[in-house]
Amino acid sequence: MSFRRTLQVAWEGLTLNKARSFLTTLGVIIGVAAVIVMMAVSAGAEAEIADQINALGANLIVVMPSFQQGGVRGGPGGGMVGFEYPDEVEAIKREVDHINGISAEQSTTQEVEGGEATLSDVSVVGTTAGFPAVREYQVALGRFLTDQDNEREEEVAVLGYSIAQELFGDRSPLGQKIKIGSVNFLVTGVMGKKGVVGNTDYDARIYIPLTVVFERFETRRFGGDTLRTILVSAESKETMDHVMADITTVLAREHDVPVSEPDFNLMTQDSVIETAASTTEAFRDLLGWVAGVSLVVGGIGIMNIMLVSVTERTREIGLRQALGARPRDVRLQFLLEAIILSLIGGLAGVLAGVGGSRLFGELGTMRTQLVPTSVPLAFAAAAAVGIFFGYYPATQAAQLDPIDALRHE
């Protein structure tokens, strides 16, 4: 029998019991939809992490001290060696080409009083004028810190968005006094919304000149003011490696250590993304397995129903054999039934999966990102399930003895 006619016969067989055919495909629909949704969810999670890391700043290089055993500059017991401010920052600024901006950070936690509120444990960040550019952070109101503020150790503060809200509500904080620890500061600016990046809530921080942090809050170390974070943004992705090499050379010279054994680390978004990606990859693999298992369960459902169908239609099979159906005609008929079921299930599952991914995303509970390859992948998996789980029942049907089959009640 021709393929087209076998297909027609298989279709007739399926429409014989529509409700059952539908319920059978449901297993595949759920399996395929699960594959697509799971992949969209994990891709969404990956994208979320990548976005957050990118939000740290474009082409950002973070320079941090590394742990030292018995280091000279970190103190007698060893520990982390910092960077000298402003000398080493200035050295980088002066000697390294292709940089867009440079800044430094030194945080402290203080009690803050201002407006109508008193807030404890506020993260107060000492930094420099280059900070907004390096972190891609916008000033909403007033102005940010200037180089002059740092040079003169001015007691001025720029508030994060939610701190400004908490302290002053709807009133403008500009020109207002706040008390950080025991020191009075003049508010010169308010930052725009940035939200949480990594584990840092930018909006809940207060920015003051770096020199003021050293002067008022952090104990001076011997040998100068030591910084624990320098931020450098390169001009472009292409110049990153070059900039990093130059920073290493400059700092190694300043610290008097060989370039091959620096006492500091350079981190980029890429290295952070890679670390994060390995976590999400494991997550995605797990979800993939879960979805794959549901697809296999769907396939077993198809096999089960096909076996029932073969038993129920034994007489029909016997008749077809008597009328001239060869074993392979019978096998193809039942195999096609299983494949049609799983392909329809696959198609409906793709629609359900794509729709489900969108819905999840729009409900806002989870970020989802449809993975284009997941659609053909899930569909092909459904077809493979149909062939794999349809083959056994179809072979059972093909091997029936026509005489027994015709006599079957």
């Binding site: 007739e12 009328l323 159906a325 005489i403």
Partner: protein, 288 residues
């Protein structure tokens, strides 16, 4: 096989449609060794001949082997030993695929229980054998046309789109006969064709088989009914897996009168034994 196929449908084909020589069938464990104590010998050397255009009835009590013979003649089963030549081609050792093809093109089956697919209309039931005919590449329209013609031939031209449950038993059996004829087989095998029918419908079906016979079809019918058997030109009686008698023209009525009331085949065999000797050997007969 081409030369045999080419001979089909022409008058140059072999005179015998069916010729079995010493056919045995053993059901049992393993290879069917006759010495196997658990083996059941369903046929013990059956040699029959059916000529082109003959109408033959096969009778016999349950367990006589008539179903087994029917299955072998219908190419649904293969003999354990002996040969079966269908239209000059030895089909006793063919594989399943070849047997399927032979059934499709050369044999039309009529079953006691009609065996129509309830979901299909009459015309779709009738064209099923055409779908499995790989030798003719008929279009859907041609198939439909041939199926309708077959239904018209059995007097159901006005019922082509009825489903089996919308037809009477007699009409359903007519659909089944149309299905048996649609591939223009060399042999129509009817297995108790009137077994499920009331007397009147049964008579109609027998009349239809007669018509087909008159038009040149070769018909082999298995039956329990002496009345039906009497309609045939010749009766092959089986008992314990062996042919006990070939009853020729005219004898059929004898059997129905003398043996029919209790279907005592043993008595029939005894009665016929004497009669048979008076006649010439059955295989010599070929003057139909």
């Amino acid at each position: 096989m081409t030369c045999v196929d080419d001979a089909l449908g022409t008058d140059e084909g072999p005179k015998n449609v069916i010729e079995t020589v010493d056919v045995t069938k053993v059901y049992g464990k393993g290879d069917g060794d006759p010495r196997d104590p658990l083996a059941v010998q369903a046929l013990r050397g059956v040699s029959i001949t059916v000529d082109r255009g003959e109408f033959v009835a096969i009778m016999g009590p349950s367990g006589s082997g008539k179903s087994t013979l029917m299955n072998i003649v219908g190419c649904l089963d293969r003999p354990t030993d002996g040969t079966y030549v269908l239209e000059g081609e030895d089909v006793s050792r063919l594989n399943k695929d070849r047997l399927a093809s032979i059934r499709n093109r050369r044999i039309g089956f009529v079953f006691q229980s009609y065996n129509l697919l309830p979901r299909l209309t009459a015309v779709k039931n009738v064209l099923m054998p055409l779908m499995y005919n790989g030798h003719q590449h008929l279009s859907d329209a041609e198939m439909h046309e041939r199926a309708v013609a077959a239904l018209e031939a059995v007097g159901l031209g006005d019922r082509i789109d009825h489903r089996p449950n919308e037809l009477s038993g007699g009409q359903q059996q007519r659909v089944a006969i149309a299905r048996a004829l649609v591939n223009e087989p060399s042999l129509v095998l009817a297995d108790e064709p009137t077994g499920n029918l009331d007397t009147k419908s049964g008579e109609e079906i027998m009349a239809l088989l007669h018509d087909l016979h008159d038009q040149g079809s070769t018909i082999v019918m298995v039956t329990h009914s002496p009345t039906d058997a009497a309609e045939a030109e010749r009766i092959i009686a089986l008992r314990d897996g062996q042919v006990v008698s070939h009853v020729l023209d005219g004898s059929a009525s004898f059997i129905s009168q003398e043996v029919a009331p209790d279907l005592n085949m043993e008595a029939a065999a005894r009665l016929l034994a004497g009669k048979e000797e008076a006649k010439h050997a059955p295989s010599d007969r070929g003057d139909v």
